[in-house]
């Protein structure tokens, strides 16, 4: 994995510190060309991986990449699925069954949902595979060497104790997409314990790592212990703690943990991208 991964929150009005800033972002990135403009700047600065949600608008960005193979042929995308708000808003309105009916392609599900017959064990794996394939469709022809499940889903499965789902996901991503499965979480220590328990060795885990413990469930101490002692491939996210930390102190803190393979960050201007990129190369050896 590249040391620096470029994220997409800034493009989709995700700002964990300010709803007002988030609206300003929605206005600035109204057109896909504005997103592509910033991505191109990042590429010119040497960034080679874009880690993004399976938001509808990412499909347009993928179209653009496919039509310009010369420029993007070595470029990687790390998809993160699903785009949770799409499903969450649908569940609020349609319920869980209604949402599955809306998003599962084809009709294999319709008869079951109406008839109320027993759902076979294998059907759960099948349903997961269908949903993954639906989300992955937009990336056809694009390099996707690592494929992530979003934290909302990872942490839901984790809390419910449905660990076998991780195993099925892991196997399917390797087999069908010839890619590494990755996990995004707000509960890194608990997740790593669960994955190791399943025999999943050295997993790629993308998680909040910052010195004020923001969105790090359980607190800094246990995170630092795991970063020092355990075997996994960490990607640090939320490193600026939603803007509470200055970039230099934030990245310097990451430098204490040689195990961190990559840092995920998003920015909207060339200056900010360059500054963060240089700090990462300076402190993460």
């Amino acid at each position: 994995m590249d040391k620096v991964l470029f994220g997409d929150n800034q493009f989709f009005a995700v700002n964990h510190a300010s709803d007002e800033k988030s609206r300003a972002q929605a206005i600035r990135f109204k057109d896909d060309s504005a997103i592509i403009g910033v991505l191109d700047q990042a590429i010119d600065l040497g960034l080679n991986t874009f880690m993004c949600t399976t938001h509808d608008r990412i499909a347009n960005i993928c179209d653009h990449m496919r039509s310009n193979p010369g420029r993007y042929k070595d470029f990687n995308i790390f998809p993160c699925m699903p785009y949770a708000h799409k499903y969450a808003n649908a569940v609020t309105e349609l319920g869980i069954m209604g949402t599955i009916k809306q998003y599962v392609p084809g009709n294999i599900f319709g008869t079951f949902a109406k008839g109320g017959m027993a759902f076979l064990s294998n059907d759960f794996s099948k349903l997961m595979q269908i949903l993954i394939d639906a989300e992955m469709k937009m990336f056809k022809g694009i390099n996707t060497p690592v494929i992530f499940i979003q934290n909302v889903l990872v942490d839901l499965i984790l809390g419910l104790g449905m660990f076998e789902v991780f195993k099925e996901y892991d196997e399917y991503i390797r087999k069908k997409y010839d890619a590494e499965p990755g996990y995004i979480t707000m509960n890194m220590p608990m997740l790593l314990d669960a994955l190791e328990g399943l025999g999943i060795k050295n997993p790629i885990i993308c998680t909040s790592i910052n010195k004020i413990g923001f969105r790090m469930a359980g607190g800094n101490e246990i995170y630092e212990k795991y970063l020092q002692e355990r075997e996994f491939r960490p990607i640090a996210m939320q490193v600026l703690a939603a803007g509470a930390l200055r970039p230099k102190e934030a990245i310097e803190y990451l430098g204490k943990f040689p195990k961190i393979e990559s840092v995920l960050f998003g920015a909207s201007s060339k200056g900010h991208i360059k500054e963060t990129q240089e700090l990462i190369h300076q402190y993460l050896k």
């Binding site: 709803d19 309105e93 109320g116 809390g159 419910l160 104790g161 969105r215």
Partner: protein, 340 residues
């Protein structure tokens, strides 16, 4: 330490989220779930050891529970809570509490007479910025209050569609019960009890039969007046966004789940606040939790409930009696809107 035994009734979006939080809680043995969907129960059977039920009474009879979380549509709350209380089971109930305040009143009385822990899922009370707002108001930083505004916007119903349970007013499916209840409860907790509804508009935008927006003028018991502005058909918001704004004689505060913006006419030395604007972020106020799913407030409210059961205390936050008062304000708004 012996773990306490917990269960969930109703495995929709909120129920599943509570199930994960209960499942990850170190002091709780996640004993059982109950839902009417055989597919959801099959999922629990396949992937977990949690016992599954389609009848909540059987679950409560069989499982020797310390508590249950009820996350069903509001119309089912009354019989379910009552059955749990009859069997001495502590209850965390999703919002809004009940559809009829007379039923809510009965449940409040049973909880008090049996000393059972009772809490309603108004999670905004566990967001650090709103707690800080309450503290700043208690410290009187913006002086005598002259106006408040409680607002919530989000993209739930953004086009015309067929009906779900949400489109039936008698089942509590509109924006008033679902979205505005959060704001009414927050006004009650942080600023004061609304006592009078001076005007109310319930507007349908895309839904049939229920309102998509609620606009109302309220008077609180302190005499302070203000507005309630809520619209769940606003797709300029990516997700639900709730805020409280207060105007005082010495300044103004605008607070949401991510930041508090304070404007002061004169500096406040005790609070180290300068003249003009000061902005503080959630990073400073977030409550520490051991498990996080969709925001720390969801875990923090369950932690609080579980702690109260273990220490045999009846909490003061989000009690049934507070939830009941929110239901009463909802009834007052409906009455007022009918008169228009």
């Amino acid at each position: 330490m012996n773990k306490i035994r917990g269960s969930i009734i109703g495995l929709g979006k909120m129920g599943l989220s509570h199930a994960a939080i209960v499942g990850a809680h170190p002091a709780v043995e996640f004993a059982a779930v109950c839902d009417t969907s055989s597919m959801i129960l099959d999922g629990f059977k396949k992937y977990t050891k949690v016992h599954t039920y389609s009848d909540y009474k059987k679950m409560i009879d069989n499982e020797k529970l310390d508590f249950t979380v009820i996350a069903t549509p509001t119309k089912y709350h009354y019989p379910m809570v009552k059955y749990a209380f009859d069997n001495n089971v502590n209850v965390f109930c999703e919002k809004p509490f009940t559809l009829l305040s007379s039923e809510g009143q009965e449940l409040v009385e049973i909880a008090a007479s049996k000393w059972l822990v009772n809490q309603v899922g108004y999670h905004n009370h566990f967001i650090g910025t709103f707690r800080e707002l309450k503290r700043l108001l208690q410290e009187n930083v913006i002086g005598e209050l002259v106006h408040f505004s409680g607002e919530a916007y989000g993209p739930v119903v953004t086009m015309e569609k067929g009906s779900t349970w949400r489109s039936k007013p008698e089942e509590g499916g509109g924006c008033l019960f679902d979205y505005a209840s959060h704001v009414i409860n927050l006004i009650q907790e942080i600023i004061g009890r609304p006592e009078q509804v001076n005007g109310a508009l319930l507007k349908s935008i895309y839904s049939k039969g229920v309102e998509d927006a609620v606009y109302s003028l309220l008077t609180l018991e302190s005499g302070l007046t203000g507005t309630l502005l809520v619209n769940w058909s606003d797709e300029t918001y990516r997700k639900m966004s709730t805020s409280l704004s207060l105007q005082g004689k010495k300044g103004k505060i605008i607070c949401d789940a991510t930041e508090i913006k304070i404007y002061l006419k004169e500096p406040n030395q005790k609070e180290k606040l300068e003249k003009g604007w000061t902005i503080k972020y959630i990073t400073e106020f977030a409550l520490p939790v051991n498990f996080e799913l969709r925001g720390e407030e969801y875990s923090a409210q369950i932690d609080y409930f579980v702690d109260n059961i273990i220490s045999k205390k009846n909490g003061s936050l989000n009690t049934f009696s507070q939830g009941l008062y929110t239901d009463k304000v909802i009834e007052m708004i409906i009455e007022k809107a009918k008169k228009n």
